[in-house]
């Protein structure tokens, strides 16, 4: 039930749309910024795509808890869900479904704009899918910890960097090999289990 609500909210309050726009906009601008050097684009494409995706997801994180905390819905969500952990879990799942899953459409489009070759595109998608739960769940930690912080965007960036860097390194280091998929899936699994607990602590502190 909560996840249904999350789906509606992400689509109405501009959070999900913005993420797609960012990805496409970046993919349109980069070829112009880097010059009409097709081989260059092709070799840089995986790294560029990953950075674009990470930044796009980062932009959406602010909207995960903030609106509900402001209008008092967070209290009611906790009452209905029974615990902050349940709320954090539902929020992360909702984010994954509403923001990340649809990126499976815009990411290939963007990759094509960057002249990525088809085989690499397949790998990129596979890596993205394996890592996407990690992106949502680790993001929920950052979003929850910066909930009542003024200028929380700055702190959010600081928190997300040590999460994002390993993901990026493993994704690109093993690009094209199965090991990267395994590692990313491992990250996702760990995030799925641990993030709700950490995010719940952040929510609890914010609501005091």
């Amino acid at each position: 039930m909560m996840v249904w609500r999350e789906w509606l909210l992400w689509h109405r309050q501009s959070g999900a749309g913005l993420t797609h726009m960012f990805v496409l906009l970046a993919a349109i601008l980069l070829p112009f910024g880097l010059g009409p050097n097709l081989p260059l684009l092709r070799s840089l494409a995986p790294g560029l795509m990953w950075v674009i995706v990470l930044l796009a997801v980062f932009l959406s994180l602010e909207h995960m808890f903030q609106p509900d905390a402001e209008d008092g819905s967070l209290d009611e969500l906790r009452a209905m869900g029974g615990s902050y952990e349940a709320v954090a879990l539902a929020k992360a799942c909702g984010h994954w479904l509403a923001v990340l899953a649809p990126l499976a459409v815009s990411v290939p489009l963007a990759a094509l704009l960057l002249n990525m070759e088809m085989a690499a595109l397949g790998w990129l998608l596979a890596e993205f899918l394996c890592a996407s739960p990690a992106l949502s769940f680790l993001g929920s930690i950052g979003a929850a910890l910066t909930l009542r912080v003024k200028r929380g965007g700055l702190l959010l960036g600081l928190i997300m960097t040590p999460f994002y860097l390993p993901l990026l390194i493993f994704a690109l280091g093993g690009f094209g090999q199965a090991t990267s998929l395994l590692v990313l899936s491992g990250f996702s699994l760990a995030a799925l289990l641990l993030a709700p607990i950490v995010a719940a602590a952040g929510l609890r502190a914010a609501q005091q």
Partner: protein, 222 residues
């Protein structure tokens, strides 16, 4: 007339608030409990109790800690000293200044979310009619007036049966009809064994006991 209309409407809708089913016995007890928020101590030693059918009126000036006390009772705030002991594990509805209405969702969607079961269209229309908002189900909550939103919050209390209602100045923007509606609902809730803790406008319900915070408490003591 209003009472009969309201009760009949609740019966017709089969809402938890109607009918003979009563809340299980519970007791909230606080003895020598402190109250603090944001590092600031609001009260040193509070003692009170709340049981089925009772109504607690919380008095105090702005900033005395009425909202904080209600949040504490709802489990949203921790007590710095002592504790609130809840026997019978009653569930609470907390209705604060920002009552948890999501601007981007419509009245319809709120009802479906709260009901947590399939609500047929006719039932939704009757619920909206109950709070005098019929025909407006499709409208987003940010397009309602403040008084109308207060009536929407009442629907949440009616749809989700929880024993304790913690109301933080709920009558603010309501007109007479709206206030009467809330009074009916509170009376019906208490008749079923529920309890209410209310800050502000206690003349509208009949409190069984009063608790004063801040300067009001000091005035009372001497």
């Amino acid at each position: 007339m209003m009472a009969q209309g309201f009760a009949a409407a609740l019966e017709a809708l089969g809402l938890p608030l109607s009918g003979a089913a009563r809340f299980a016995p519970f007791a909230l007890e606080a003895s020598d409990m402190g109250l603090a928020r944001g590092g600031k101590t609001l009260a040193h030693s509070l003692s009170f109790g709340l049981r089925n059918g009772e109504a607690l009126a919380i008095l105090g000036d702005n900033g005395a800690g009425k909202s904080s006390l209600l949040r504490l009772m709802g489990g949203l705030l921790a007590a710095p000293r002592g504790a609130l002991v809840a026997q019978g594990a009653p569930a609470c509805h907390y209705v604060g200044h920002r009552p948890g209405l999501t601007a981007a969702l419509s009245l319809d969607e709120h009802m479906r979310f709260w009901a947590a079961r399939t609500l047929p269209r006719t039932e939704r229309q009757r619920l909206a009619a109950l709070v005098q908002l019929e025909g407006l189900e499709r409208r987003r909550t940010d397009q309602f007036s403040e008084g109308q939103r207060r009536r929407i919050v009442l629907l949440r209390l009616l749809l989700v049966p929880r024993a304790v209602w913690l109301l933080d100045e709920p009558f603010g923007a309501l007109d007479e009809a709206g206030k009467a509606l809330w009074q009916e609902a509170v009376a019906a809730h208490r008749a079923r064994g529920g309890a209410v803790a209310l800050a502000g406008a206690q003349s509208l319900i009949a409190p069984t006991r009063r608790l004063a915070l801040g300067a009001a408490a000091q005035k009372a003591e001497g």
